[in-house]
Every structure is written in structure tokens, then in C-alpha cells.
């Protein structure tokens, strides 16, 4: 189940990273934003669970578009460090606005799934986790189709390969960037909205998620949707393995140890074109 969520987070980040050259530190905040929207719709406004999921994702897309329009548009052509600093500032501000509104106290969301797990040949799986997994797979497939088949997807791929040429060929860079950032943000918000009801929602929940997303992007290579998908599942698998055989405390360290290893052996990620500066 976690593999699907990791993949969603990774894909969103890898698109933004690969196409826009922006190290997006607000990614984790979009994730917790999705979870909080879910909390608001389900627990406070008592909307339908599935409708809430759609709304939370849509709001994530909208928020992503706003961030791109307000903060990033004027930084076109700035170096990677500058945009990174702006994103760090936005991250700090967003996380604390969240804390101000929702307080530091963890919130939990009730889900409509039966609390008895599904038992299949000795293995028990919670229905809610099964649902998360299915939706995550659906979203991954949808994103893949969007990038592969649609006009805007083609523009994204063109921009990724060579921004300047794409512009010369008549690709509207502003629209492409806006769509990319909104799509990536929407995926992060969807991941948060899916996972919020399974665990609890706290203002800091996005931090580790964002760091793991970075790990996945590195594993999969910049800008590769397939790579991020594989990276997400791989990370989840290795974490389980680490928790089982080493100590459960080191579970979260697995991904980062893996990044260091991968970069030592294969600095461009598992699946990627060569991308080294300098």
C-alpha cells in the first residue's frame, strides 16, 4: 500500500523537478494539505468520503497552480538555488499557517470501510489499505496516460527534453509549467488525502514524506514517471525488509541509505538519461 503512495509522491515531484528544474520543498505541504482538506470535508462538513477525496485533490491542483503563478513565475531563468530558497520559505510559511489553523494536535479521519480486515489465505489486509492501493494505481496510470497521450503532456515532454527548443517550436512554456506544477501538487494532495484516514493528520506529516519523495526521485532518475513508480515500490519494499530484519527504528533510514548507495554506484539513478551538471 505504501508503495503506491510513495509512487504518487515521487511522480509529482519528479515531474516538477525534471521539467521545471525546481526542487519543490512545498511538496510535503501539499501532501498534508490534502490530508487536512480531507479532515475538513469528512469530519467537519460531513461530506461523502469519496466526494471529499475528489475535492481535496482538486484543491491541491488549485493550490499548486497558485504557488506556481504567484511565486515561481517571476523566477523563470533564476538559478536552482534561488528557487529552492523561495520554496523553502514557502514551505515554512505553509506549515505554520497549517499549524495555526488546525493546531498542533493530531486529527484522525473516520473512513467508511469495514473495520474487519479481508483475509485471504492467512494474509489479512485492511479494506482501507486495499482502497488506497487501488486508487493510487489508478492515479499513476492516469498520469502516465496524460503525459503520454495529451497535447499538454506532449508539451511537457518537449520542455523536459529541451526547454529552449520547445519554446521556439511554439510550446507555451508558462502554461506547461503551470500544468506541471498543478498536476504534481494534485498528486501529492491526493496521496495525503488517501493516507490521512489510514493514519493521523499532523502539521509535520509532510516533512518525512517530502524527504522520501526526494529519495524516490533519485532512485528513479530525474523526470521519469516509470522510474518514480518503480522507485516508490522499491522504497516501500526495502523499508519493510529493513524493519523486519534490522530494527523497526531504522525503517525510515533505509531510503536514505539507499540513495547514498545508488549515487555511489550509478550517479544518474536507476532509470534515466545522463544528467550531470559540470
Amino acid at each position: 500500500m505504501l508503495g503506491g503512495i510513495y509512487a504518487l509522491l515521487g511522480i509529482g515531484l519528479t515531474l516538477i523537478f525534471g521539467i521545471m528544474r525546481v526542487v519543490n520543498f512545498t511538496h510535503g505541504e501539499l501532501y498534508s494539505f490534502g490530508a487536512y482538506m480531507m479532515f475538513m470535508f469528512v469530519m467537519l462538513l460531513h461530506l461523502d468520503f469519496f466526494l471529499s477525496l475528489v475535492l481535496a485533490t482538486a484543491l491541491g491542483v488549485a493550490l499548486g497552480a497558485v504557488i506556481e503563478f504567484v511565486l515561481l513565475r517571476r523566477l523563470r531563468g533564476a538559478d536552482i538555488d534561488t528557487t529552492m530558497l523561495v520554496m523553502i520559505g514557502a514551505w515554512i510559511a505553509m506549515q505554520n499557517v497549517e499549524q495555526l489553523i488546525w493546531s498542533g494536535v493530531a486529527k484522525s479521519i473516520t473512513s467508511p470501510f469495514p473495520s474487519a480486515p479481508l483475509v485471504l489465505g492467512g494474509i489479512s489486509v485492511a479494506w482501507s489499505r486495499l482502497f488506497v492501493f487501488a486508487v493510487a494505481l489508478l492515479l499513476i496510470a492516469g498520469t502516465y496516460a496524460l503525459v503520454d497521450r495529451t497535447r499538454i503532456g506532449r508539451a511537457m515532454r518537449a520542455t523536459f527534453q529541451d526547454g529552449d527548443t520547445a519554446r521556439l517550436m511554439g510550446v507555451d512554456i508558462d502554461t506547461t509549467y503551470l500544468a506541471t506544477f498543478a498536476l504534481g501538487s494534485g498528486l501529492a494532495a491526493a496521496a495525503g488525502a488517501l493516507l490521512g484516514p489510514v493514519f493521523v493528520v499532523t502539521p509535520g506529516m509532510g516533512d518525512l514524506a517530502a524527504l522520501k519523495a526526494f529519495a524516490i526521485v533519485i532512485l528513479g532518475g530525474l523526470g521519469s514517471i516509470l522510474g518514480a513508480t518503480i522507485g516508490g515500490f522499491l522504497l516501500a519494499f526495502i523499508e519493510e525488509l529493513g524493519a523486519g530484519y534490522l530494527s523497526s527504528g531504522y525503517r525510515d533510514a533505509m531510503g536514505f541509505a539507499l540513495i547514498i548507495l545508488v549515487l555511489l554506484m550509478r550517479p544518474t539513478g536507476l532509470i534515466s538519461r545522463k544528467d550531470r551538471i559540470g
Binding site: Q99, I218, I259
Partner: protein, 348 residues
């Protein structure tokens, strides 16, 4: 003129405890000073070699933990029947160990990380910080995990002919940090103005060109990383013995971010930049707090301010003030007051 300004600044800093009676203000100044030292060390990497390390808290944290552990002593099983023990050592020795081991880690991490550049480098450094945090959290036989290392002794120095002197309380610690900061400044300034420093700056401006004229890229980068890590380790050691408690959160990303903000806001690649940035962003939270503003609002302001600085003063405060100074009818002055001699200013 410039020398006079520096002397005046030093006199001002030295006299602070004489006219600031509020111990809390001194406390804030001490902590600010420690983070300013860390920011200065980060500036060596970020400003002079152009490598954005987002794992700088690693060295700060390693310095803090090593110094705390050596001064407290420890007993740890490296294998089920291989027990390593260390009796408590004097604090000055512990601090030296901290500097040495932080420098060593700087060498090791530098060797590994400088294989990659750009975004990859950023993420690899974040990964090191996160691994360090999780090790500190989980290896509780050594680090006490989330229970934190507590009751860390303060620095005690015994000079021949004098009794032992403990750095307890605000005033002695203030001077200790001030002296350490000046020392760090001098080390960095000398390095930057040396041959090695010029090589680093050349690398930042144009790495392929620099390597084609025979500059050994990795060697200079690693040298910068070692010095930077050692100074950050010293800052961490000072921190541990001043606040007397260390927990795994010293490795948190937020600490690195604080250092990065200090450097960038002040002006990366300028010697005075991290000091100006350090003072502003070290004192700002306390200023906001004194207006009884809720901490969340403070941090929101912090984040927004950071964005504004990047938009309005992309090169940082020090270069901006310097150019303002020059424009204000002093175009004849050969150099800006504090930064003119620094060749590391970026012209994008």
C-alpha cells in the same frame, strides 16, 4: 577607515555584557553567535565553492554529539561481546575531538557527495543528515535516543598559575562564543584569500574551465568541505556545552535551513554576509516573540521574509548595502566597506 570600522565593531561586541544587563538577551546572543559560526562555515561551501549543501546540520550535530559523549564518557557494544568504553574526558579535549571527527566526516562525505552536482548533490546531503538523525534516534545505547544526552558538563579551562575556570553562566559563554567566532572568521578569511581559495572561486564561476586549466576540482572541494565541517563541528560542540543537552533533533532539516537562510540573506560568498544574516535571523524570532506574537505567526513571517529577500535582494543584504554605499556619492572609494576585497561576489 575600514580598519577603524572593524575595530569599532569589535569594541562594541566586546562591551556588550557591560551594558546589556538582561541575561536572557545574552542567552539569545550566545545562541545566535553559535549559529552564526555554523553559517560562516556553510558559506565556505555555499558561497565560495557554490555547492549548496542541505545537510550541513550533520557536522553541527556530529560536533555536538562527539563532544558531549567524550566529555560524558560512554559504554557501547559494537558487537554483542565487544564492549567499547570511554571514561569522561576533559571538555577541551572533547571539543578538539569534535572538531577532528567533524572534519573527518566532512572529508568522507565530501569524497562521496562531490561525485555528483546540482540537485543530486543537494539531495545526497539531505540524505546524510536524515541518516545521521535516525542513527542518533535509534542507537540509544550510545546516544540515549530521544531521551537526549543530558547534564553535559560546561567547558572548564585550567591555565598554569590560575585556578580552573568554568564557563558557566552567560557572560563567560558570551566571550567564549565571541572568541570562537573571531577565530572562525580569521580561518575562513585566510583560506579564501589563499591560492586554494582562489581556486575554489574559479571552480564556482566555471568548473569545466577551472579543471581544464589544471585545478584539481575534487581536491579543492574536499578541502573546503573539511574546513567547513570542522568549523561547524566546533559550533556544535560549543552549543552542546552551553545548553548542556543534545537530542537527535540537532540533525533536523530546519537547522540546516536556518543556516542557509542566514548565509543567503546576508550575502553568500561575502565574508560579512553570514554574520549579518546570522544576527538578523538569530535575533528576529526573539524580537517577534517580544511582541507576544504566536510562534506559528512568527514562523510564517520568517518564511515570507525569506521569500521577499530572495525577490528583492537576490544577492543578499551585504552586497546590496555595499552597492548602495558606493552609489551614494562614494563612487571614488576603491572598495565596499566590508566586502570589497572579497572576489567571491556573484554576478549572475
Amino acid at each position: 577607515m575600514r580598519r577603524l570600522a572593524i575595530l569599532a565593531l569589535l569594541a562594541l561586541l566586546l562591551s556588550v555584557p557591560l551594558w546589556v544587563g538582561n541575561f536572557y538577551v545574552l542567552h539569545v546572543l550566545i545562541v545566535t553567535g553559535i549559529f552564526t559560526i555554523a553559517a560562516m562555515s556553510l558559506n565556505l561551501l555555499l558561497g565560495y565553492t557554490g555547492q549548496l549543501s542541505l545537510g550541513h546540520a550533520v557536522f553541527f550535530g556530529i560536533g555536538a554529539y562527539v563532544s558531549a559523549l567524550v566529555s560524558l564518557g560512554f559504554a557501547v557494544h559494537l558487537a554483542p561481546d565487544w564492549l567499547v568504553t570511554l571514561d569522561p574526558q576533559p571538555v577541551w579535549l572533547a571539543m578538539l575531538c569534535a572538531v577532528a571527527i567533524a572534519g573527518l566526516c566532512g572529508w568522507a562525505i565530501g569524497r562521496v557527495s562531490f561525485k555528483v552536482r546540482g540537485a543530486y548533490f543537494v539531495i545526497v546531503t539531505i540524505s546524510f543528515a536524515e541518516v545521521a538523525r535516525l542513527v542518533a534516534l535509534n542507537w540509544d545505547e550510545l546516544t540515549q535516543g530521544p531521551m537526549a544526552l543530558n547534564n553535559i558538563p560546561p567547558l572548564a579551562v585550567s591555565l598554569p598559575g590560575l585556578d580552573e575556570f568554568d564557563f558557566i553562566g552567560k557572560v563567560p559563554n558570551y566571550y567564549l562564543v565571541l572568541v570562537a567566532a573571531i577565530l572562525a572568521y580569521v580561518v575562513i578569511a585566510r583560506l579564501v584569500h589563499s591560492r586554494a581559495g582562489r581556486a575554489m572561486i574559479a571552480l564556482k564561476e566555471n568548473e569545466p574551465l577551472a579543471s581544464s586549466v589544471g585545478i584539481e576540482v575534487t581536491r579543492y572541494l574536499v578541502l573546503a568541505a573539511v574546513v567547513s565541517a570542522a568549523i561547524a563541528g566546533a559550533a556544535g560542540a560549543l552549543y552542546a556545552h552551553y545548553i548542556q543537552i543534545v537530542d537527535p533533533n540537532v540533525f533536523m532539516f530546519l537547522y540546516t535551513v536556518t543556516m542557509v537562510i542566514m548565509v543567503v540573506a546576508g550575502g553568500k560568498g561575502t565574508l560579512a554576509g553570514p554574520i549579518v544574516g546570522g544576527l538578523i535571523f538569530g535575533l528576529l524570532p526573539e524580537v517577534l516573540r517580544s511582541f507576544a506574537i504566536r510562534p506559528e505567526v512568527q514562523w510564517v513571517a520568517y518564511g515570507v521574509l525569506m521569500i521577499l529577500i530572495v525577490y528583492l535582494l537576490p544577492n543578499g543584504i551585504v552586497p546590496a548595502v555595499a552597492s548602495l554605499w558606493n552609489r551614494a556619492g562614494r563612487a571614488d572609494a576603491p572598495a565596499a566597506p566590508t566586502t570589497g576585497s572579497s572576489p567571491g561576489r556573484i554576478v549572475p
